[in-house]
């Protein structure tokens, strides 16, 4: 397995946000986590990145226990992360925002321009606005920049936290299609979180359902989840 979480538990200011989470992502696999807001999707990602203190369990990546590793070390090992709120720097250009992920981690083997060319293969439309300030881009364009920033350092795994949030339907479709490019052309595994199962059920290989910090279901046939009324009720928060 590329990523393996075993018995992961975490709390924020005394409130438990993750309980005994077991989750895995294999090489070249696209895995989804679905759950309503506050279910624990973002906390799971933050724990994997080392941005969230965990109380128990372990995280291993590519066979190595990374539970005690610093965030930037996890990134160097090959984990890319596109956070939910995008976190772009508005007065820097899209190009600079993407290149930022390479600053301080450049091993000198691949040029910045070469790495940019690779992400442009995933998002060819980005070429038109690379030199515009990130603050002036539309939501969809900003999302492309955020995902590109997570991909530019050539990670083995990229984690996308609700990338479809607030995007126009056509942009959502383009972004969904780019997931197969990420997997097939870049050889990168994807762990993607969403609150609406319909956004990701078409392209994920496996799916986890998370509720109140617990993984309550796991399936390798994501299309069947929408037929399970009980599960759909939990996901929609109804």
């Amino acid at each position: 397995m590329l990523l393996e979480l075993a018995g992961l538990s975490a709390s924020i200011e005394g409130v438990t946000v993750l309980r005994d989470i077991d989750l895995s992502v294999a090489e070249s696999e696209i895995v989804g986590i679905v759950g309503r807001n506050g279910a624990g999707k973002t906390s799971t990602f933050r724990s994997v990145m080392g941005l969230q203190t965990i109380q128990g369990g372990s995280i291993s990546f590519d066979g190595e226990d990374i539970t005690e590793r610093e965030t930037h070390e996890r990134k160097r090992l090959g984990i890319g992360f596109a956070p939910e709120d995008r976190r772009l720097i508005s007065n820097l250009t899209a190009r600079e925002n993407i290149e930022m992920a390479l600053w301080g981690t450049d091993d000198g083997t691949t040029s910045v321009d070469d790495r940019l060319a690779v992400v442009l293969e995933v998002f060819p439309d980005m070429d038109a606005f690379l030199d515009q300030p990130a603050g002036k881009l539309s939501g969809g364009q900003q999302q492309m920049v955020t995902v590109s920033r997570a991909l530019v350092a050539d990670p083995n795994l990229v984690m996308l936290d609700e990338p479809f949030e607030g995007l126009a339907p056509s942009i959502k479709r383009d972004l969904s299609e780019s997931m197969s490019t990420v997997r097939e052309d870049l050889g990168t595994s994807v762990l993607i979180a969403e609150s609406q199962i319909s956004q990701i059920s078409d392209f994920v290989d496996r799916l986890y359902v998370i509720e109140r910090g617990n993984i309550i279901a796991e399936t390798d046939d994501p299309a069947t989840v929408s037929d399970d009324e009980e599960l759909m009720e939990v996901i929609s928060g109804g």
Binding site: L51, L92, L130, D131
Partner: protein, 346 residues
């Protein structure tokens, strides 16, 4: 940095040079270069401007941490004084008086102190960082006072005028000729080198990374930036250049004591100058150093309660213009631009 970004940087430099501000800066540079030989210029004015340039170096260096990295330090006296003392003690015990040897010794000493102090302190921020820096700097101050058999205690260390490339200008030209013809230009050169290098650093990915860390350490971490490592680098850069200022101070004053270079109030003055000039602007600390030295010089002549005047100035700046002199200048620029636009519309 990509080709486009480099091209952008070149255009920015070209734009700056050809703008009215660039022309103003060029005139200022010519004035600074010609100052010792301008009619009516005395040793006092040359000394005063040399002092301003010295503290301008320290202010630019201090702002690497305060303005660009968001760390308020009350321990920069350790780098300033560490360098000055390294020069004084090295000259005394090794019998070396060559500037080209003493200067690297001072900068290296400050950089080393910054590397050690920074390594301990960069995991903390805000008041914890400020107090940790203060504590570590005071440790150096107390050590210097207590180890009086080595350091001269509160009497300090005399710094003889150095030779430059083996030439003893003081013996040749006397103090006036040495100050106006040599030392002033050494300090001016150190200032120009500092300004150019730090400007380049701060406009490179290194500087942009520091700004990202300053604005949101959490965001920087999420991108994968090693936050502590970058803060540490910034501490070393800031400390080494503050050490350069400390070295210039030592050569200019000819004597250093714990009270003048290592005391916490020296760190406070560097913070004062930087805030007075404006932390949001690269050249703000230069203006801050100039204003601070001139106001203090005038206040000292007017009253023995000059500390009160300085306190009042700091109070007024923080309350009415937190962006400092740079903030006032940019406000004037905006008004001039608006006035020109209004005139053009008519």
């Amino acid at each position: 940095m990509s080709q486009d970004t480099r091209t952008g940087l070149v255009s920015e430099i070209k734009g700056s040079v050809t703008s009215s501000w660039g022309i103003g800066a060029a005139l200022l540079a010519i004035g600074a270069f010609a100052l010792p030989y301008l009619p009516g210029t005395s040793q006092f004015e040359v000394f005063l401007v040399a002092q301003i340039l010295t503290f301008a170096i320290a202010g630019l260096a201090y702002n690497v941490l305060l303005g660009y990295t968001g760390l308020l330090s009350f321990g920069h006296a350790a780098f300033f004084g560490g360098s000055a003392y390294a020069i004084g003690l090295f000259a005394q015990y090794a019998g070396v008086s060559e500037l080209l040897v003493l200067l690297p010794v001072g900068v290296l000493a400050a950089g080393t102190v910054a590397a050690i102090v920074g390594y301990v302190s960069v995991r903390h921020t805000k008041v914890y960082y400020a107090l940790l820096m203060l504590a570590l700097a005071q440790l150096l101050y107390v050590l210097t006072v207590k180890l009086y058999t080595v350091t001269g205690g509160t009497d300090g260390v005399p710094i003889t005028a150095p030779t430059i490339a083996g030439v003893d200008y003081l013996a040749m030209w006397g103090y006036g000729g040495y100050l106006q013809g040599v030392l002033y230009y050494v300090i001016l050169l150190a200032f120009v080198v500092t300004a150019v290098l730090l400007w380049t650093f701060m406009h490179s990915p290194f500087g942009l990374t520091l700004k990202t860390i300053r604005d949101s350490p959490e965001r920087a971490r999420a991108i994968g930036i090693p936050v502590y490592q970058y803060r540490w680098y910034a501490s070393i850069v800031s400390g080494a250049f503050t050490g350069l200022a400390g070295a210039m101070y030592a050569f200019l004053n000819g004597h250093v004591t714990p009270g003048t270079v290592l005391h916490w109030s020296r760190s406070g003055e560097l913070a004062f100058m930087t805030v007075l000039g404006g932390t949001g602007s690269f050249l703000g600390p230069v203006a801050g150093a100039g204003a601070f030295i001139l106001i203090r010089s005038q206040a000292q002549q007017l009253t023995e309660y000059w500390h009160f005047v300085m306190g009042l100035v700091l109070f007024l700046v923080i309350v009415f213009e937190p962006e400092g002199i740079a903030g006032i200048v940019s406000r004037i620029r905006r008004r001039v631009r608006r006035w020109r636009k209004d005139r053009g519309d008519r």
